[in-house]
Symmetry: C2
Subunit: 364 residues, 2 copies
């Protein structure tokens, strides 16, 4: 059953508040229309699990903890109230959401997603913009975990992206990989461009030297593997301590693993230079503030920096490069690149070292 | 007279606080060494005028205004105290600085700047990282203007950029142009890349459609002129009101001038589409928050957004593109591109329309 009136591929037709001239995109909206009937380009998902994002869950749990005792029923009631009131699971304090797993229940005749009824999928956009209704009162959730077993439905817009859960991988592993899949996809694209530059063209540096700050992490290790496949020359991983170096070195994902504080301009650039730098492509995967100028200093003139850290400060990067007279291209790490989920899952499948790092996280 | 010990091209050798492992770049430092003796790669400037940046001057003036009366001597005393204490003019509240005009007094034998003694220059990096000492007590300044007549000296590091003031342009006009010269230089580079893409290559869109948000402003109008010269196809300028449309339309800098609120996702994308969009290259020159998702929606898949606004929020851009499944390249507007000052001054010289807009600002 589909709605008749025109829909927007980005979901504006489901925004209930605010309306009119002040209308916002669904993420910024106060309230969404979560009714199950579909517009022709939409998809309905039967929900199986909500994965609240870490920041949101922490805020909610703290609110409902007294003297070290978590009041699970109260936490559950608040999550239910948020979803009922807003038509989406967006923590009003943190603004963040999470993602969900479910099964495709209905596909509108004009849906461009390519999804089919019965497929098990994970949404690759935030719950903070996904229309959602819960029908089981979250009865199976005790409030003690970010993973929320749930019954109900969610709506995907024409442009909402979701990925089929692969049959050959542990779903928890697949989710972890898909959560950071934008990074390796963009790294692959950028490194390929350098590697393919013709002699004399801009970007012609031969096989580019790539430095990944936070190389032992989830997005970092996938970025290293993607850079290698895309034709990187020397691969340098920067890690903060001996433990991460011991973890990463034996994998061979990087040609050199160096310990440095990514917030230290001198420390970082010396470490990268000592390992064969400066880098033609620097990938920032460490979620701490203050890495902008150090990353700029560690990058060669004419090089590219890809910032994936949400702790990146726009002005610090822009003014920092100017102050250092650094002719570097600085990219905001877009979490979406076509085919990003498949690319990341393939890297895990084909690269035992990456897979080992991820499986190690599952166990811990 | 030059110092013997090794210097750093980015000025680390002049950082007095903090030192040791916690050493920062000069911009983040609490205190710089502003002594006039040069290291071999440095340049000393005899200062003529300081131009405090608008945010810094406003904060200082507000602090020293009581019942609508500005206490000029107190303001002057505070600026002197800041410079004496920090070795640079960096407002401790806003963190910002400004720029300066002066004459080259001495050039170290290893300076890579190409400057010569006697040349009149403007610094193109912030005062917040420039060693500075004042010798006249700012006696000629009444505290009522951001323009501060001053005697003293400033130091340029090996990598500090400065531009000769041209003989053929009003220095006030030249300063205004140089203040925003990073924007047209980066726009020219990006638009040229699209225009030069071979058939079938990534970026092959023929002559790219370019949209400039804030097209009637300083960086916006220069960006329009740069895009035209670099081979743009359709040029769309977005302005907030009728007054700016009336100002910009007769110049012919854009093919179409449309009025839209750059913070409105629907309003902006419809305006750009109605003018021939979506844009292959979107240039954000409006200093208001909340333009990230609207700019993403107004940009074609495979397109590029260049954010020059200091009000840009990194996370809003990164998560916004992901939520919209927008395959767009997002660039942090680096204020430095080699040759940027000359490029911008040339645009003003050769383009009477741009020059007219800038001269209009001088008069108002």
């Amino acid at each position: 059953m589909t709605q008749g009136s025109a829909s927007s591929p980005v979901g504006l037709h489901r925004v209930l508040e605010p309306r009119g001239d002040a209308i916002t995109l669904p993420q910024a909206a106060r309230r969404l229309d979560a009714r199950p009937e579909l517009w022709p380009d939409e998809v309905r998902i039967e929900v199986e699990t909500l994965n609240l994002d870490a920041a949101s869950y922490r805020q909610l749990a703290d609110t409902h903890t007294t003297d070290g005792h978590l009041d699970g029923p109260a936490l559950r009631a608040e999550v239910l109230a948020i979803i009922a009131e807003r038509g989406k699971m967006q923590n009003p304090v943190t603004g963040s959401g999470g993602m969900l797993i479910g099964t495709v229940a209905e596909v509108g005749p004009e849906s461009p997603t390519g999804l089919a009824v019965g497929e098990r999928v994970a949404t690759l956009v935030s719950l903070s913009l996904t229309p959602l209704a819960i029908t089981d009162g979250l009865a199976r959730w005790d409030g003690r975990s970010e993973q929320v077993p749930a019954e109900g439905h969610a709506i995907l817009f024409g442009r909402t992206i979701a990925a089929r859960l692969p049959d050959d991988l542990d779903p928890r592993l697949a989710l972890m990989v898909m959560d950071v899949c934008g990074a390796p996809a963009l790294v692959e694209r950028v490194v390929s461009e350098y590697a393919a530059a013709l002699p004399g063209e801009a970007g012609d540096v031969g096989a580019p030297t790539v430095a990944v700050l936070g190389g032992a992490g989830k997005s970092g290790s996938l970025s290293l593997a993607a850079a290698r496949r895309a034709g990187a020359g020397r691969l340098v991983a920067v890690v903060p301590n001996e433990r991460e170096r011991a973890l990463l070195t034996p994998t061979g994902l990087a040609d050199e693993v160096v310990i440095a504080d990514a917030r230290s301009p001198l420390g970082l650039s010396r470490a990268v230079e000592g390992a064969g730098g400066p880098a033609d492509v620097t990938v920032v995967c460490v979620d701490v503030p203050g890495c902008e100028q150090p990353a700029i200093l560690a990058t060669a003139q004419g090089g590219t920096i890809i910032f994936f850290s949400m702790a990146t400060n726009f002005a610090a990067a822009a003014l920092g490069a100017e102050g250092l007279a650094a002719d570097v291209r600085m990219l905001i790490g877009n979490g979406y690149v076509p085919g990003h989920a498949e690319l990341a899952l393939d890297l895990v499948r084909e690269n035992a070292a990456v897979r080992g790092l991820f499986e190690g996280r599952l166990e811990s």
